[in-house]
């Protein structure tokens, strides 16, 4: 293994993993729907960073950019729909606590 590229790889991998951990921890801990969406957003940020970095080190930035642009479009739609769903849930239950969504039980 050569020195500097490998070290740089580990540094980037550490920060990507840290943001992944923040996002997954947010989803794991929270009971609030909006905060869960924020956690999901953080996970998407980490994956965006990972894709761009993968493109950067493999010299295929154009492909990575096209993937990330597609992902951003999907991300916006997911957030908008999830926001709408949480708003509907709030109007129905007067609360955003996911534990109170008992009417979804089969």
């Amino acid at each position: 293994m050569s020195g500097e590229p490998v070290l740089t790889f580990y540094i980037f991998a550490f920060f990507i993993a840290a943001i992944l951990a923040c996002g997954s921890y947010c989803i794991l801990v929270t009971r609030n729907m909006i905060r869960a969406i924020i956690g999901l957003e953080l996970l998407i940020k980490a994956v965006t960073f990972l894709l761009i970095y993968a493109g950067y080190i493999t010299g295929q930035m154009a492909l990575a950019q096209s993937f990330v642009i597609t992902m951003i479009v999907i991300e916006v739609v997911v957030v908008a729909i999830a926001g709408g769903v949480s708003l509907r849930v709030f109007r129905h239950n007067n609360d955003l606590d996911v534990r109170k969504l008992k009417k979804l039980r089969g």
């Binding site: 580990y10 997954s24 921890y25 947010c26 924020i38 096209s66 109007r91």
Partner: protein, 168 residues
């Protein structure tokens, strides 16, 4: 590399602030900061088109969507916040699990041959222009984007409309 390192540290702290702060509005601002810093990092990695997308859409539009959603819902009272924060401390039991998983993933990465990942770029025809890839090589992605945008627009119109009398 030093600038990148500083930017990544700022991004990590912004992400941690997003997760840790109690107010949803502040969490949204933290997310916007994370996104803005990420867009700077992306720009520095020679991906300007994606950086512009990330800055305008993720840092701007998504923050606006979050602020609208939060403003249409009821904020918690101080009493509820204190009760929730007490409950939250109990849930820190999950933190060692997350750290353990992170450590395991990092150890697996360390055991891998990283040179295979870094020097994989020996593929012959690498297209360097993002417009060529987006408009010529991956046209189906654009169709997918159009379909998902239409689906999203219909979903937003349906979900954000005012509540009727006999709904739900």
């Amino acid at each position: 590399m030093t600038t990148d390192l500083i930017l990544m540290i700022v991004m990590m702290f912004a992400a941690m602030w997003t997760v840790m702060c109690r107010s949803l509005l502040k969490a949204t601002i933290g997310l916007a900061v994370t996104s803005a810093v990420l867009s700077i990092i992306i720009f520095r990695m020679n991906a300007p088109i994606t950086a512009v997308f990330e800055l305008s859409v993720c840092s701007g539009l998504i923050t606006a969507v979050f602020v609208i959603t939060i403003s249409l819902t009821k904020p918690l009272t101080n009493k509820e916040i204190i009760e929730l924060s007490k409950d939250r401390i109990k849930r820190f039991i999950y933190l060692p699990l997350v750290i353990l998983l992170l450590g395991g993933a990092f150890y697996a990465l360390y055991r891998m041959n990283v040179n295979n990942i870094i020097y994989i770029s020996k593929i012959e025809q690498v297209v360097t222009d993002v417009k060529t890839v987006l408009w010529d090589s991956r046209q189906l992605d654009l169709f997918g984007q159009i379909i998902i945008l239409i689906a999203g627009a219909i979903g937003v119109v349906t979900l954000f409309e005012e509540k009727e009398k006999d709904e739900w």
